[in-house]
Symmetry: C2
Subunit: 201 residues, 2 copies
Amino acid sequence: MTVTGKPRGTYAKTAARRREILEAGIEVFSSNGFRSGSIREIAERVGMSQAGLLHHFSNKNELLAGVLELRDDQSRTLTNMDNPDGLEQIRGLVSLVEYNASVPGLVELHCILSAEATSADHPAHRYFINRYKWVVGFTTAAFENMRHEGRLEVGVDPASAARSLVALMDGLQVQWLLDKDSIDMAEETRRYVQSLLTVPL
Amino acid sequence: MTVTGKPRGTYAKTAARRREILEAGIEVFSSNGFRSGSIREIAERVGMSQAGLLHHFSNKNELLAGVLELRDDQSRTLTNMDNPDGLEQIRGLVSLVEYNASVPGLVELHCILSAEATSADHPAHRYFINRYKWVVGFTTAAFENMRHEGRLEVGVDPASAARSLVALMDGLQVQWLLDKDSIDMAEETRRYVQSLLTVPL
DNA sequence: GTCAAAACCTAGTGGTCACTCGCTTTTCGT
DNA sequence: ACGAAAAGCGAGTGACCACTAGGTTTTGAC
């Protein structure tokens, strides 16, 4: 009867603090991977103690989940996946590649985490399986749309083209990260996509 | 005068032991990467102590160098890069992809190490920069050979095609490692290469 | 068979890791 | 301005890390 125990929410600055932590997490996991990246280093970057950070994310896996979620939010706002036009969707992918070339940190994060997560016991293993399923599925649908409109070169299989396009985008990132002057990711992507189409990109 | 100090070489079984260690190293670095893979686990796999292992490789970086060298030897014997015929060289690359599908451990090793090594302070950073320079260069030369013989589709730039082919091969590996049934690496590779050629692969 | 070097081991060293405990400080609804 | 919860901290804990010191065992040329 007396109880109630009103739980009270987080404070005003808390959201910004969590955001700071996640962005530092992106930086640290980018250059060291998840397994070797340390909570302590992330905490230092936002100027707080390790224990203080763990008040916001109760363990390292939870922090990783937060980082992946933040990255997803960011790239989702960039591509216009809502557009039902296949060509526009593909153009969205290409402009995503263009954008990526301006945020090496995010590219590095994706590269190293996706490689680490191929191990079945990695905490992000299922995340990346689902993510690739989604991206390849989305791209396949875009190519299928284009085929119906005769905008796809004959003999091009939408699913295969989608898998290859995604693979190309990933592979270009490694070469680019190793030597940024050696390669123009967007240019190579455009070239490949154009070779599949009957209409100009 | 008395001296001489004959240094005496390694024992008969030493070479085999070193080889065992390197193969265990491939396994461990494959699933954990270099930074998180531990010498101790490698030593356990060959049934010896950590200190015993360090008698053969005096530190972790040296062990990594040995692992990379072994992998290079193995894949070098598989492709016939000596063949001066461009088409045969490209066929060699495709058959390398076919072979890779039978050794997921080596594929995982390449994936995770190349991603880790994009960091400038990684001990294999320079190794991977040079390796990509070499592979892309080799592939470019193969395409150039083919162009002189009219076996390259018009409008195909050898250097660009080489960068893209290597990228495609790398990117396919990630998708394949995450879900081996989702993708046929060799088939996708063949499709892409064929689209560049005027002759059948 | 001798004996020195190679091979290998136990037992450390100092460091870092993720995470916990109990405490102080800050926030903010009342 | 009170008080309870949120935010944050210092000091741990136990596990693991790469690597070393100094010893014992094994090998193999003589």
